[in-house]
Amino acid sequence: MPRATPVLGPAAVDVTLDVNGHARAIHIRPQRTLLDALREDLGLMGAKKVCDEGTCGACTVLVDGRPVYACMTLAVATAGRAVETVEGLAHDGGLHPVQEAFIAHDAFQCGFCTPGQIMSVVALLRARPDVTADDVKRAVTGNLCRCGAYPNIVAAALAAAKRKK
């Protein structure tokens, strides 16, 4: 006999998320998006809430290493999967090479899209260290920048890729 699958909710349930390598227990209703869980329940404000409809990419985080829109992802559905946010990139007080490259290349103005842009670039460079400008543009197609910092975002990503090699 296969064991019965538990039905969660609609009342709040205990869920344990794996966020930036740490197990984080939260008590949420199933309709909580991953974005709201990160921001409201876990205090991780890096992923931004802008369109909240899977259009702008400001909420981009990595799930099992691949970029997703946290605003269109249910937190309960990510239990057991590895979630990474921009807060998890810095180590031992040092910024991640992609973060450093964004600063060095002035790859933002208002900065609101930046955590999402960075997560998309981090995922790209982990998968393929050798990238072209077209690869970078394709990787951040789903991350809108209203300031128009795109040329510098591409330059930053290429510089980070070069440094990584």
Binding site: P2, T5, P6, V7, L8, G9, P10, R29, P30, Q31, T33, D52, E53, G54, G57, T60, V63, R66, P67, V68, Y69, M72, T73, L74, V76, A77, S120, R138, A139, T141, G142
Partner: protein, 325 residues
Amino acid sequence: MKPFAYVRAGSVAEAARLLGKGSAALAGGTDLIGLMKGGLAAPARLVDLTGIDGLRGWTRERGAGLRIGALTPLVELEESEGLARHLPIVREALADAATLQLRVMGTLGGNLLQRNRCWYFRDQAVPCWLKGGTRCFAVDGENAHHAIVGTDGGCNRVSPSDLAPALIAHDARVSLASARAARTIPLAELFTDPALHRREEHTIRPGEIVTQVVIPDSALQRRGTYVKAMDRKAWSFALVSVAAAARVRDGKLRDTRIVLGGVAPVPWRVEAAEREVDGQPYSDAVAARAADVLLADAHPLKDNGYKIPLAKELVRRALARLAAA
């Protein structure tokens, strides 16, 4: 979003059993969560299919065709070198589909079952015909993105999927399973014929889930190509798209399929158009005749007449590309 219960199914049988009245199946969620946030869907229970083994990935066996699991993420279809050798049109169709994030999240089954993007339909406050209202608000409203053909005086939505035309051009069949039965139908029949005046976009029945898409061996002999026009260079639904496939020899196309997206409420195919092409040495004039037949019944609205010359040019480009390859 209204509160709902969430359950992760471990098998097709369990999913089918859990999908009772008021339930909805959840895969990537990229459309469903948006519909729920917008007040267009309010399921009492979400049955998460993504944990089901065996519905992810593809297989190719001679005699059994090419089978693609419905829960395969779009990004896996796009990145698979093996699939690109058997069915290169899939990678072409996904190259300009949505964004990487949405292709990571979205699945084959979800792409085929996504609901249309008509802005009147998507606005909860507009009681359009498809949502049970009395009339279409696009027909005399803002209709630049709407249908030019096949509406039969009814809903003027367009079929938004990039994969559907590409797969139909390769004679795809789709398998569906419920707690009671399983069935396999031509993929084209997953889309509701607008002439039937049913207020739904798909023929999937309550309690059913899509389990796989199958491409028969014979259709894998065809070369295929997909061309898409958007109102910007990326991250946009098709204004018009054309999937074309044929066996090509000595500059002649045979066994041709031409399927359009973005022009009709369903992926748009007219078999008589394909007969204009079959067995003929390719020329732009042959392509123009095929396009004329495809759009013979077109009735553009106020803002979407541009789709007729656009569709004709994309048909020409697609067929010319096949003939030249």
